[in-house]
Amino acid sequence: MQCDRVADRLPQIVDGVERAAPEVRAHVETCLRCQAELVQYRKLLKALRQLRTDFLEPAPGTVTAILAQLEAAGERGAMRSLLTGHRAAYLGGIAAAATAAGAAGAIVLASRGRRKMRLAG
């Protein structure tokens, strides 16, 4: 196997998540250049993992700004639910009125029907 083809695989297998194909492993075992390259990838990964313990501090007032935005978002949410609630009550009122009107109409029609039947009888 050629070094170039193995070199393409090294960044994939360096962390051990993906298993190297047998022919890649066989090549690396006998090729000093590819072994050196793999060592360099391992050094890179180690250095990257160490960055995890480095912290930068955000600007002072970050927490205050976040809380202020949350408060503002909370107030907008409350306002929205209030408006939604009013709209629901309004639509509910219309629906109730329509239902009542429909029921009254049905009663009138039913009573007229009974009267016609009595006259015919």
Partner: protein, 193 residues
């Protein structure tokens, strides 16, 4: 005594704003650092962190607690950073892809990685990558997020995330640990400057 993160999460989910504030206090430097590494500048990082905590607060009830709060926040921060970079690229009218990668013509740091300023050199090398490549390598190799989570937050397939990761590792390795023959081109460029 340091606050117990799991207890704070439970309290915050129950509506305790003070508990959420403590969660922000405990994790803000971590999230800001991630945001800075992904966006490459302090102003964007600040915006990303604020947006991330607001999104976290709104979706806190959906956080099941089977992952660590910090891992969950990493994902949200990564997603916000992606949105911020897209917004920035729209404003700049240039696309974020591998072709927009910054080209650093200075000589490589090579063996200086073993010295005291190793982390600064590495951080500079990360910033030389395109935002797409940088995001994947930072999330995977610095913050240890799984491939599927990275793909989900960046809106790409797992396969694409892996390809970007391998390219990014290769570029970093070539820049920071060049093998014999690999730094010839860089030396020529340095001489030309």
């Amino acid at each position: 005594m340091a606050p117990d993160m799991a207890e704070l999460v439970i309290a915050a989910k129950a509506g305790d704003k003070q508990a959420f504030t403590q969660l922000v206090e405990a994790t803000k430097a971590d999230m800001y650092t991630l945001a800075y590494r992904l966006t490459g500048n302090a102003e964007d990082a600040q915006d990303v962190v604020q947006e991330a905590y607001i999104r976290a607060y709104k979706s806190l009830k959906r956080f099941r607690g089977d992952a660590k709060f910090t891992s969950w926040m990493y994902r949200i921060t990564a997603n916000c950073a992606k949105d911020q970079l897209v917004k920035g690229s729209r404003n700049r009218h240039d696309a974020i892809d591998e072709t927009t990668e910054a080209v650093d013509e200075r000589p490589g740091p090579e063996a200086r990685l073993g010295t005291a300023d190793e982390r600064r050199v590495l951080a500079e090398a990360l910033q030389s990558l395109s935002p797409d490549m940088r995001a994947v390598v930072v999330l995977r190799d610095v913050y240890d997020l799984p491939h599927d989570a990275i793909a989900a937050e960046l809106g790409i397939t797992e396969g694409a995330a892996k390809v970007r990761l391998h390219r990014a590792r290769r570029k970093l390795r070539e820049r920071l640990f060049p093998l014999r023959g690999e730094d010839d081109g860089r030396e020529e460029r340095a001489r030309a400057v």
